[in-house]
């Protein structure tokens, strides 16, 4: 009896060590209610572990280390947590500011940066140790005010690009070009438009695009030619239409790009805007169910999936990118917050916060394959983001 128990005890940790596995089909789902995340496996479609103690996760996002083993979790409370998804445990956690909104990882994977609301600015950390490398205060204007920072992404050449919400500016911090004082060279672009609310970089890393809340249009910066400055595009996209109150800010991350078109959410309108990728001209407005929050292309670009702001947030629509028509409407549950495709797009995972579940759909048949119970799930992030510029 005793011997048997001993064997079991010995075998337990051993078996854990012996199960070698990769992380390419893993991901994490943020659980807002409990300040935790679940590590999930998209091949088996199961949850593998839960990691607790991540703080206030409203609006949490994550980036991955380039070995796809560590997730850096950016919490609203200013927490930056490095999670080992293989072990299902926290490696390190720091509180880096009062209030943060998102983060990015550098091209070489050695720097993790976090954008903050209060005090506004960007903090840059050593990805290995989470030691502070540099603090970039977002100070603007004559009175030296600090701006909230949004739309932080990585760009080729060890650069981080971000937007200053209060200032209406876009900044580039270049860590390949460090000044005499040891700080990253900063290039500032002013008067880029009113209240940039989020930003993204095209998958090739060339164009940084900020969405504007305070006016119609988008601000585009060509990172191959920063000397040409920021251009405004689609400045009149809402002309003639009535702008409604916005109950949830749209997101530009994971912007939908197909070969010919870019799809993006119209602010305060029940429309998805389609524009020509070559000349940034509007091609079409697609009338949709509500105000879009995420507009995401399936990895092959054949479909675009859209979710909506409160109070129309129980619905997801699928747009066919050839006909530019809605081909499917799904009801994944109350308060759909996020959608994430598997790397080659055969499945999409959709979180429904108030329904307390994540539903996995087959993107060819639109059949629900399985549902996983979660505590107010929000963001879903698969590890293939580790190798994509801007994610």
């Amino acid at each position: 009896m005793k011997l048997k128990l001993l064997i079991v005890l010995l075998a337990l940790p051993l078996s854990a060590c012996n199960t070698l596995r990769g992380t390419g089909d893993l991901g994490v789902v943020i659980e807002r209610a409990t300040g935790s995340l679940q590590v999930v496996d998209s091949t088996q479609r199961v949850s593998l572990s839960q990691v607790n103690g991540l703080g206030d996760l409203s609006h949490a996002s994550i980036v991955y280390s380039r070995d796809e083993r560590f997730a850096y979790v950016f919490g609203r409370d200013g927490g930056l947590t490095k999670v080992d998804i293989l072990k299902g445990e926290i490696t390190k956690r720091i509180i880096q500011s009062g209030n943060s909104i998102g983060g990015a990882i550098s091209q070489d994977g050695k720097l993790v940066s976090v954008s903050n609301y209060t005090p506004g600015g960007v903090n840059v950390f050593n990805a290995e140790t989470l030691a502070l490398v540099e603090s970039i205060p977002a100070i603007y204007g004559k009175d030296n005010k600090q701006s909230k920072v949004v739309g932080l992404v990585d760009a080729p050449g060890q650069r981080f690009v971000f937007s200053l919400y209060d200032a209406g500016e876009i900044w580039i911090a270049d860590f390949n070009h460090v000044n005499n004082n040891g700080k990253a060279a900063i290039t500032k672009f002013k008067n880029i438009g009113k209240q940039p609310y989020d930003g993204l970089i095209t998958p090739d890393g060339r164009y940084y695009i900020a969405g504007l809340f305070g006016e119609d249009g988008l601000a585009v910066l060509d990172l191959w030619h920063p000397e040409k400055g920021v251009k405004r595009i689609l400045a009149n996209y809402g002309r003639g239409g009535k702008k409604m109150p916005v109950y949830k800010m749209p997101h530009l991350e994971g912007w939908a790009m197909t070969e010919d078109y870019a799809f993006f959410p119209a602010v305060g309108r029940n429309e998805v805007l389609v524009m020509n990728r070559r000349n940034w001209k509007q091609v079409k407005k697609i009338a949709v169910h509500g105000q879009p929050v995420f507009v995401m292309a399936r990895p092959d670009g054949r479909q675009v999936w859209v979710n909506y702001a409160y109070p129309k947030n129980d619905t997801v629509e699928v747009i066919d990118t050839e006909s530019l028509k809605i081909i499917k409407t799904l009801k994944p549950g109350k308060a759909v917050l996020h959608m994430e495709f598997t790397p080659r797009g055969e499945q999409v995972w959709i979180s429904a916060r108030d329904a307390g579940k994540v539903t996995v759909y087959d993107t060819a048949t639109f059949k629900a394959l399985t549902t996983l119970p979660m505590a107010k799930p929000s963001g879903i992030f698969f590890t293939n983001r580790a190798h994509r510029i801007g994610l």
Partner: protein, 112 residues
């Protein structure tokens, strides 16, 4: 004369309807208060932070609110702030429900 009478009776009726509404909404059901709390934490929370410590919108904690007039807070929730992302809630929530929210904010929002 006739016109005046019609207008009068409409205004009397609307007062009547209004009173009815207020009476009905004075007792916000437990179920509704759970929904409203969820709305505060989750949906207001998406801009103000789930713990109301601020985000795109300012902090709405009891300490911060103490320094601000209650009428202004109620009016902001009701009508929103044009030119900023703060939306009006009057088409979604009744005056009583907004009042309940203001009470809850001043007392401190309970996390579920």
């Amino acid at each position: 004369m006739v016109k005046g009478f019609v207008i009068k009776s409409i205004s009397v009726m609307s007062v009547f309807i209004f009173c009815n509404l207020v009476i009905a909404e004075n007792n916000i059901s437990t179920q509704r208060s759970i929904e409203l709390n969820n709305l505060l934490v989750q949906d207001c929370g998406s801009c103000h932070g789930m713990t109301m410590k601020g985000g795109l919108g300012p902090a709405l904690t009891p300490e911060v609110l103490l320094t601000k007039p209650r009428d202004m807070i109620t009016a902001t929730i009701t009508h929103g702030r044009p030119g900023t992302p703060m939306p009006p809630w009057k088409n979604i929530l009744s005056a009583e429900e907004i009042n309940w929210m203001v009470d809850t904010l001043y007392a401190g929002v309970k996390q579920e």
